[in-house]
């Protein structure tokens, strides 16, 4: 199935390549081995990692063949065992002649799983660069490509970005094959379909679309397929490239495509009818369509019991609001609405602000920007110097700054609570957009007080409601309001009540059977028996 799509895609890239590379005179592979090798040498710029091994075959050793692969991205062992050994030592070696050489090699000698013939140069190079091994025979205008992809990849390790206390630990790696396999290992149904794309003129990056046939919405799949096919760029280095090229709305601080490095999250989303986009070279897998509320949901919410999960979700949403409006509220209260605070508190704040030379807004801006600088520095810094940042940072937003009368202690508290709150959002993309919007809120608060904050909130809500992710309204179970789907939003009801998949995303909404509610055993017979046994001794 995947190869079908691959071909379709390849035709397209070939057309593009021929348009863009006028040097490429001959489309098809020639008969002469030396001419072919020269062409390969020329095309790859004599790169030393392109290994060309020439072997003489046939009874008189008169048939020249060549094995070509690229060092490092191939599995050396399989080339050794299944190609070189069989071609050089095989008994049939003597039977080989110019007419049947390729046929014999492919059918009898190469003991590798996937072998396909290639006729043109574009295919040749794309398979070569992808890690396949090519077998060329002199006098035959055809090349055999053996699938020998391999080489060093990172092993599966624990997720760094989305941690859970309870739940599977393994995260995706940079290798797309491993990643799709990890999801396949979770969802063992033939309905888990994948489609392959190659995107990027230079990088030829493997991109795989994965969805569950019959659950995912065909229109959305078609839409994603179409948007992926439209991409014409030289490189795809990370899934972020794809995300930015296919998202519905660019002019928004909010992410409209979800990304994760957890296979269980991808599996869960696939089972809700979403579509995953795997990109080779990155552990971050895109999931679309994404809803606003999805960014506040952690994988663990589904593993923990519902009351715990619900309260934690509510906490996260409260934290999101705090990270949005806490500094803005402080600015508004201290510059516009002093009457709203209890007298003792306003006196305490006034006492702290007495010696601060800046207006509250400037003070807040100063501290927020300082914090953002510290955060950024902490991320990019080499680990060895990391502790220096925290020490200096504690001085800058802390006691020293307060003692120098540059900021008030209350402001330090506000900045700290904002910082902590912004880290409580499970999705980094959402947290960082909140950080950005926070400054807008502060500006609103500084110019209009609470009125400005409310104005900003209104604008934000209107904007959120206008967003779409692959045609699905971003605020989906709230606006439009879908009562059945609200069980898994800000709250997470028990699993047995969540009978339906999200209606706007999935075409097959029934997730589980009726009457799943657990009960204690109807009769107490079991319990009584146990008691009798216990009682025997005492009696």
């Amino acid at each position: 199935m995947p190869s079908l799509f691959k071909n379709g895609k390849l035709k397209k890239t070939r057309q593009q390549e021929s348009k863009n590379n006028p040097i490429n005179t001959g489309k098809y592979i020639q008969d002469s081995l030396s001419a072919n090798l020269d062409k390969i040498h020329q095309k790859t710029g004599n790169s030393p990692d392109v290994v060309i091994r020439q072997i003489k075959m046939g009874s008189n050793s008169d048939i020249e063949t060549a094995i070509i692969y690229i060092e490092g991205i191939v599995d050396n062992q399989s080339i050794q065992e299944f190609l070189l050994e069989s071609m050089m030592k095989d008994d049939k070696k003597t039977k080989v002649n110019k007419q049947n050489a390729l046929e014999l090699i492919s059918e009898d000698m190469m003991t590798i799983g996937n072998v396909s013939p290639i006729h043109n140069w574009d295919d040749l190079f794309s398979t070569l660069m992808a890690g396949d091994t090519l077998v060329l025979v002199d006098g035959i205008n055809q090349v055999l490509s053996a699938s020998t992809k391999g080489g060093e990849t990172r092993t599966i390790s624990e997720s760094d970005t989305q941690m859970v206390v309870r739940g599977p630990k393994g995260a995706f790696t940079e290798s797309i094959g491993t990643n799709t396999a990890m999801v396949r290992r979770i969802i063992k149904t033939p309905d888990l379909w994948t489609e392959s794309f190659k995107i990027g003129r230079a990088t030829n990056t493997d991109v795989t679309l994965m969805y569950i046939h019959g659950i995912a919405n065909d229109q959305v799949i078609q839409e994603i397929r179409q948007r992926l096919n439209k991409i014409d760029i030289d490189s795809i280095l990370e899934s972020g490239y794809i995300e930015q090229l296919i998202e519905d709305q660019t002019a928004t601080p909010f992410p409209t495509i979800y990304n994760t490095e957890r296979p269980d999250v991808v599996a869960g989303n696939l089972l809700e009818g979403r579509i995953a986009i795997f990109v080779d070279g990155t552990p971050f897998v895109l999931v679309a369509p994404a809803l606003f509320i999805q960014f506040f949901q952690s994988a663990e919410d589904y593993y923990a019991r519902f009351d715990i999960a619900t309260s934690i979700r509510l906490l996260r949403i409260a934290m999101f609001l705090i990270s949005l409006i806490a500094p803005a509220t402080y600015v508004a209260v201290t510059t516009f609405h002093q009457e709203m605070v209890p007298t003792t508190l306003i006196v305490a704040i006034a006492a702290q602000r007495e010696s601060v030379p800046f207006p509250a807004f400037v003070e807040a801006l100063l501290m927020e920007i300082t914090f953002e600088i510290l955060r950024e520095a902490g991320i990019r810094l080499p680990k060895a110097i990391g502790s220096a940042v925290s020490i200096v940072g504690a001085l800058v937003i802390g006691q020293a700054a307060v003692q120098a009368s540059i900021v008030s202690p209350a402001m330090v508290i506000i900045v700290s609570i904002t910082a902590i709150a912004s880290f409580a959002t499970p999705s980094f993309d959402m947290a960082i957009s909140a950080r950005l919007i926070r400054f807008l809120f502060m500006l609103g608060a500084a110019s209009f007080g609470f009125y400005g904050i409310i104005l900003c909130i209104l604008m934000m809500v209107v904007h959120l409601c206008s967003l779409r992710s692959f045609g699905v309204p971003y605020m989906a179970p709230f606006a439009p309001f879908i009562p059945v789907n609200n069980g898994d939003t800000v709250v997470r009801l028990p699993w047995w009540t969540l009978r339906q998949r999200p209606r706007l995303i999935s075409v097959n909404t029934i997730r589980e059977g009726k009457n799943q509610r657990p009960h204690p055993p109807a009769s107490r017979g079991m319990v009584n028996r146990a008691l009798e046994e216990g009682d025997n001794n005492e009696a």
Partner: protein
């Protein structure tokens, strides 16, 4: 699309013109007024005394504290023909913008209250957007409002807070004072007869000592503030001060008492048993009989025995019943005293008129014009008291009964 954009732009620019809390005021530019005193000068003008908080001296030595000791509040005053003029004129002495939103205490001088009444002042307070209608109003008892506002207090650094908290707790725990807000006073003055009760506060000691910081450095400050009496206002003017049991009876009928102490005689000893009320509920009802208003006051008290200075065996239920009866008599006496005093003042401070209005609207129309002066003083008031002893503290028998047995 273009029209939509223009419309949106228009709407957003319109918001800029809307009046809201537009003008920004930095916290460090505000003079937070905690209390305001209004007095009358000899030439008939108003003197406004403002108690302004020095935040740095209140919040403790956090930032730049220590060093010179200065008082937590600073007083500014100025006079004018009306309140707004006086308060605006005061700004020539203050480096900051006078901010009334945290003015929780409003002190009216006794002279002003008695001679001019407070009716003329209220408009200014109610009209000002900053000033709060729930600010507590107090009438200076035998003191000028200025002296009361100037007094520094220990424990509560802001003197206004001391006054407010004292009133709040004494109203509930003792009941000889009331804490009423400007709003309550306004409602009372607007009702037929224009009556209101306002808490009284006085400064005890030397007024010069009261405003010195040294006053606070003594364990027993020479000059202090204390709640004192309830002022009875009629048509906005102060007509009478209520003290002691009369005051408590008044607060009782107003249904504002939570806990107080009632002493009863026992076994020949005066005030031998202290009964502490825990909860009480007073309800009023009215009837018209032969064109004469007939008011009934019903109060229900529950409480504990707090102290017994005579040996009493309270394990005996009959004794409890007897105690309850004595408490009833005692309370009834107090309520009666309060009502008689109010009738003498010809001021219906309890709101009996409203009760008649609610239950007998037609008859009320007839008696309304002469209610305070003719009908109220003559109306018959029925007082019924239900009193219960619920607990006796941690002991049963009195300690004295144990001592006696030995």
């Amino acid at each position: 699309m273009k029209r939509k954009g223009i419309l949106l732009l228009l709407m957003t620019t319109m918001t800029l013109l809307l009046s809201s809390c537009w003008s920004k005021k930095e916290l460090t530019d505000l003079a937070i007024v905690s209390a305001m005193g209004v007095d009358k000068t000899k030439d008939g003008r108003y003197t406004v005394t403002l108690q302004i908080i020095n935040p740095g001296n209140v919040a403790g030595g956090l930032v730049g504290g220590g060093g010179t000791q200065s008082p937590p509040v600073t007083i500014y005053w100025d006079s004018g023909d009306n309140l707004v003029e006086a308060s605006r004129r005061a700004s020539s002495r203050i480096s900051r913008r006078v901010y009334y939103a945290h003015t929780n205490l409003l002190v009216i001088g006794e002279k002003l209250a008695r001679e001019d009444g407070i009716n003329v002042l209220i408009d200014a307070f109610d009209r000002d957007p900053d000033f709060r209608a729930n600010a507590t109003m107090v009438i200076a008892n035998h003191t000028s409002a200025a002296d009361l506002v100037k007094t520094l207090t220990p424990v509560d650094k802001i003197p206004a807070n001391k006054v407010l908290k004292t009133l709040e707790f004494t109203e509930r725990k003792w009941g000889e004072n009331v804490k009423v807000s400007l709003q309550d006073v306004m409602m009372g003055l607007e009702s037929p007869g224009g009556k209101a009760v306002v808490g009284g506060f006085r400064m005890i000691g030397d007024y010069k000592q009261a405003r010195r910081l040294e006053n606070l450095q003594e364990s027993a400050p020479e000059a202090t503030l204390r709640a004192s009496g309830i002022a009875v206002l009629k048509r906005g003017k102060l007509v009478d001060w209520l003290y002691g049991k009369t005051a408590r009876g008044t607060v009782w009928i107003l249904d504002k008492i939570q806990g107080t102490d009632i002493n009863i005689d026992w076994g020949g000893k005066k005030e031998a048993i202290a009964y502490q009320t825990v909860r009480q509920k007073t309800s009023l009802s009215a009837q018209i009989k032969n064109g004469k208003p007939h008011i009934s006051v019903h109060t229900r008290v529950e409480g504990d025995i707090g102290e017994m200075e005579v040996p009493v065996d309270i394990t005996n239920p009959n004794v409890i019943t007897k105690i309850e009866q004595s408490v009833r008599q005692e309370i009834k006496k107090e309520l009666k005293k309060a009502i008689e005093r109010a009738q003498k003042d010809k001021t219906d401070i309890f709101g009996f008129g409203e009760v008649i209005h609610q239950s007998r609207p037609n008859e009320w129309k007839k008696i309304k014009p002469e209610w305070n002066d003719v009908y109220f003083p003559k109306s018959k008031v029925d007082i019924t008291v239900e009193a219960y002893v619920r607990r006796a503290g941690l002991r049963n028998k009195s300690f004295l009964s144990g001592v006696k047995e030995n």
